[in-house]
Symmetry: C2
């Protein structure tokens, strides 16, 4: 036995106990005749003391010790004369009677503390040392707790956790599938799943009724800052349910997670139609922690010879509370911010609602005080507020002013990471028009069902058909999404026709699931949560990388193990493959 | 809402309730004026009734219905006149008031019943229909329950469930790694993990203290009957522990699983040294549900001019209780059984211990009644028992007679699937000699630590060094295995030398973990359970295939989705690969 207690366990009640601890040396402080060792393990830090009464051999041993050495320490628990109220073990210390070095350490490449001196790359290369830092490890502990909360909740609701295959079939549209050559089947490949969608629908056909899985999924795509080639989903499906049943179930799950892991109570989740989210927030993932809603003032601004507004399809405005005193420099800053390529606006119009009731705007030449007063009333701006106005093509400007809204939320400190505002965004369009291919694409996927009352529009105005599709959005982050599936083969055929598939194409791409549906498919619906993103949100982080034990970088490389890497010629040969590297130009 | 209750829920207390059910039609029985529909879902079967009082439209609808149609049924719960005590809903039936077909079904390719008429291949091709069968689905439900029991227990013990990467690095010895070409890193490959061994040891270096994961692992090898290219492990590792700590922890876990999922109490697990297992059971995974131990009678049988025994390195015997009346045909059968290539013995000697105290053997020519009496005493054979004797090269015959012992256990009905006898096999040899390469191989893996008291033998008699390695064996099945790891770099260097590695080779193959160990590695130990096999054992099945939702066949193919398959030329090109298929000869 290496220890009687952990380094986070001893309290004042343990005084006079002879104990054994084991852990890493966080630091050694030498005050001449007296030395203190902070001994650290996952559970905490305990102070070990060497003083004039300590055995001389221990005093000598101290010389050999250094940071990150793993030691076993025996001693007597005693009360500290000067207590540390910041740590749970701060009332006691250990008078050492024996020390044994279990494992020495070289000087680590960066300090193992909350505020480390190590840069990102160094910490990734030595991830196993980075993970020793409390601030990093606690995210992984949270992840583990959240996973268990998910399972406890869903198991209690009779969900069957079912593992679906990782080695599956590549699909024609799966250009972003990772593939795996099969040695036993020369010339053939497995694919890694981008999601277990087909399998979970098959489990519904199989009568599993309620399925879930916390599962790795894979996508071989260019990685944006916050994507990983392998990522984790909470994947769920239910039978004999409608949209309300599904949202209730997973609202319950989400609330349970908040309560169990953060002890946070959240309100019932509002349902917001997609159209409202776009109109008021300029986004299908609205951050509802703060108001500052977008107002459509297009009708108010026309006909004053301001050609920018007169020619604009859409003019939108937000009201930034208490910002009338923004300086020239701040306003110029905002203009530059919206002109960045990511936002792509031509400019920004402002109206300051002065304390005295007057208005000062960048378009005073075209609009009278009365005109501006009408704007102010429309956007509910009071004296002291700042109105920001953007104009142009509707879809673009709604998104752009939505981004500006978020930026103003940041500037005004309205996006508190300790406040959580979940909502359901519902009634997504079934289809989106793709300019390039000049045809409709499924917004969610081809098995998503249209709203019953909109089915008649499928023939006449397919772009207006709303789907039984929903997203869970929390604090402006899309945490999950799903839909009620089509389980009627006639409706499915109609859907494929809308998407421009011939019968043969539909059969080739989706025939497999369609065939299963011939044998009695129950009505079913499901959802998938991005688990990495959910943990990251709960942990108050901006990136998913810190909630993954061993993440990859933006090039898909694990720089710790230096992967991917070349493989032996013999192995390629066994797989019936040859490299075919393009020459660099 | 599609249903008010499930098909397994209604009881006598629900009489007179108006309810709605939804499910699959199991069968329809038509008795002229009266018809019964068995409606099935995951939770049970409920009987729906159409009689003279039922609305005529429903009677007409009946004509359209068939097996496996999905319907919604409304009606009134009433008491059955003739109760079915075999099912929980057998006291009630539903007087139908409305039926709606949710989804019709073609005639399924096999009957969806416990005793189906579908052959293996057909059932695999239509796995989603096979999974509708109660006998198949209940194994998956058990699997889900067992997984949750594992997690509940380990989370309560402060284990952190941590996901390790699926896209890792191929290792030189990893000839059986599945590899994944990286599009973003031309010419380079990821590998899929055969186990998360390295990562879990790194998590110990990272101070995680207690790690577990239920995780998919992958092996691209020729598949024996009961192997799958992707399989699931319960993977665990602990720090600051010795062998006893680890075995106690996972004995606790195993007992918890038995209690939680089967409501079975198992005794404390005996620890059996590897040498004893081989000697008494002829196997390192002894089935201890029955005795019939192997006895070494080599010394007793020499010098009687029976050249077979005189020339044998080893002669072993088992005693089959009450089998003295085995017929000539039965004995010939056993001889043929041991002569099969799988066993490879030359022959089998028997001694019948007759009721009258005399002996009748196949070697009466060489051994007197007194000689045979000595044998009988040695193997504790009484009147009425049968002694079976095999001889030859020791390692081979110990294994062979161990197999014979299992076969006799089968014949005598001693291997009851409802009895569970777990034990720890401990003290495995550290090394095994490989004739082909003329060097030692690590029996477990190169990081397994030798027993402290045997370290001195490493220089002199390395083959005799025992390891801190252990297997969990239940009913003759190896369920899990692990070891206390080396965390001392000097001992590790010695181990590599024994295994015939140069320093450079050791660095190239294992440098990565060795480097991590330089920064303070804690003593650590771990175990991995074969989860598929464990579930299969709990379910009383002989194969792991039936505890996997979508298994692959012996050629590694999923015949349901027809995978693996060819991929498009364009995709290969993007991956910088060319097929290099050998011509068939």
């Amino acid at each position: 036995m290496y220890r009687t207690h952990t380094c986070g366990e001893l309290r004042i009640a343990d005084i006079n106990k002879e104990i054994t601890l084991a852990g890493w040396i966080q630091r050694i402080r030498d005050f001449g005749g007296m030395s203190f060792i902070d001994l650290r393990d996952r559970y905490g830090i305990t102070q070990l003391v060497v003083d004039e009464n300590t055995d001389k051999t221990i005093v000598e041993q101290l010389e050999e010790l250094g940071r990150e050495f793993v030691i076993q320490a025996k001693g007597l628990v005693r009360e500290r004369s000067s207590k540390n109220t910041k740590i749970p073990t701060g009332e006691i210390e250990i008078a050492l009677t024996e020390i044994k070095v279990l494992s020495p350490s070289e000087v680590p490449p960066f300090t193992i503390q909350d505020d480390t001196d190590g840069g990102d790359d160094l910490r990734m290369k030595y991830r196993y040392l980075d993970l020793r830092r409390n601030v990093v490890r606690k995210n992984l502990v949270l992840r583990s707790k959240m996973a268990h909360a998910v399972r406890t909740y869903l198991n209690a609701q009779d969900f069957i956790e079912t593992e679906t295959p990782v080695l599956i079939k590549s699909t024609p549209e799966g250009a972003r599938d990772f593939v795996v050559p099969s040695r036993m089947n020369p010339g053939e490949f497995y694919a890694l799943p981008q999601s277990p969608q087909t399998f979970k629908q098959l489990l519904m056909v199989a009568g599993f009724d309620r399925y879930y899985q916390i599962v790795k999924c894979f996508r071989d795509e260019d990685l944006r800052a916050d994507r990983q080639p392998e990522f984790t989903q909470i994947d769920c499906e239910m039978s004999f349910v409608d949209q309300k049943d599904v949202l209730n179930m997973f609202e319950g799950l989400t609330k349970y997670m908040f309560k169990e892991t953060l002890n946070v109570d959240v309100d019932d989740f509002p349902w917001m139609p997609y159209s409202e989210a776009i109109e008021k927030y300029g986004s299908d993932k609205p951050d509802t922690r703060f108001e500052m809603l977008i107002n459509n003032i297009t009708d108010l601004v026309k006909g004053n010879n301001f050609v920018v507004f007169d020619s604009a399809e859409y003019v939108g405005a937000i009201c930034a509370k208490g910002c009338a005193d923004y300086s020239r420099k701040q306003l110029d800053g905002l203009t530059k911010w919206v002109q960045r390529p990511q936002i792509g606006a031509k400019g920004l119009v402002y109206v300051k609602c002065n304390k005295d009731g007057s208005f000062k705007s960048s378009v005073d030449k075209f609009y009278s005080q009365d005109d501006l007063k009408v704007w102010a009333e429309k956007v509910d701006a009071k004296a002291g507020d700042l109105i920001l106005v953007m104009s142009g093509e509707k879809d673009h400007i709604q998104g752009a002013i939505g981004e500006l809204r978020l930026e103003m939320g940041n500037q005004l400190g309205l996006r508190d990471k300790n406040i959580f505002k979940p909502l359901w965004v519902v009634d997504f369009p079934l289809l989106e028009w793709d300019e390039e291919s000049q045809r409709f694409h499924a917004m969610h996927h081809p098995f998503t069902s249209p709203k019953v009352e909109d089915i008649k529009l499928m023939d006449t105005e397919p772009g207006k058909v709303r789907a039984n599709a929903y997203d869970l959005v929390i604090n402006g982050v899309e945490i999950g999404g799903g839909s009620v599936r089509i389980f009627d083969s006639e409706l499915q055929a109609k859907m494929f026709k809308l998407l421009g598939f011939t019968k043969e194409e539909a059969q080739a791409q989706f025939g497999f699931l369609m065939n299963a549906f011939k044998y009695g498919a129950p009505p079913h619906a499901g959802i998938a949560f991005g688990f990495d993103r959910l943990v990251s949100l709960f942990a108050g982080l901006d990136t998913i990388r810190d909630v993954i034990a061993f993440p990859k970088n933006n090039a898909g490389r694990d720089i710790m193990i230096d992967s991917p890497s070349v493989i032996a010629e013999a192995q390629l040969e066994e797989l019936n493959l040859k490299l075919d590297l393009k020459e660099k130009e």
